[in-house]
Amino acid sequence: MLLKQGLEVSLTVNKKRPVNLDIGTFRLPITAYVSILHRVSGVALLAVTGLLLWMLDVSLSSAEGFASIGAGLANPWLQLLLWGMLAAVAYHLVAGIRHMIMDFGVGESLEGGVLGARLVLVAAGLLILLTGVWIWL
């Protein structure tokens, strides 16, 4: 039995090389979630930028276009969409600032990294809340 297993392992060893860091099997720390969200928001911003460019185009093209963007932003669903778009901008911005602070050697320890990640979530949450206040109040 053991011999048979060993033989199979030796036959398949070149196809199934062990992976050093299989992150799929890890319970991820807060720093990982903050990093993944930075990536997810960044990918989303590729599409968001297209929508913002379209809004800029229409709003500048004519007085009617400007008024139509204004009217669109009075629609609750479009307000929600705008909030989501600006939330991606806000989160990505805050996480990016953290990157630059870490470039100066601040918050690079394990404890510092966790604290920095928590501060990113708090600061981004506040900024997203303020964006909501800006849209709805």
Binding site: V19, R39, G42, V43, L45, L46, T49, G50, L53, L56, D57, S59, L60, S61, S62, A63, F66, A67, V89, L93, G96, I97, H99, M100, D103, W134
Partner: protein
């Protein structure tokens, strides 16, 4: 020996690292400016909005921002695609798929830059 890759932006990790930061700062300056302007002008009219974008300095900042976006998105998407669309995670067809996606991203970015320049000089 530096790790290079034909689809990366600056052909070196150090160059991409620096470009990513400079472009991030320029985009941040634009965001702070445009949000501050919009907050300061709650009853904004079409005339004022057009006037703002005809100003030389606003145009300059806008062009610098869209060019920064181009570099920033290219570098960022390259990092994401080379991390997840890999042979190890998706199998042997991953390389062709990744190059296809990278070309798609580059096409979108170039379209945005052309569009932004067209918007700014069309008013």
């Amino acid at each position: 020996m530096a790790v290079t890759n034909v689809t990366s932006f600056g052909r070196s990790g150090l160059a991409d690292w620096l470009v990513q930061r400079i472009s991030g700062v320029i985009i941040t300056i634009y965001l702070v400016f445009i949000v501050a302007y919009l907050i300061a002008h709650p009853g904004l009219t079409h005339g004022e909005w057009v006037e703002l974008h005809r100003c030389f300095w606003v145009r300059l900042l806008s062009v610098m921002t869209i060019l920064s976006f181009a570099a920033h998105a290219w570098i960022g998407m390259w990092a994401v695609l080379t991390d997840y669309v890999t042979v190890r995670l998706l199998g042997p067809k991953a390389t062709a798929l990744r190059i296809f996606l990278q070309f798609g991203v580059i096409a979108v970015i170039i379209t945005y830059v052309g569009w932004a320049v067209d918007i700014l000089w069309g008013i």
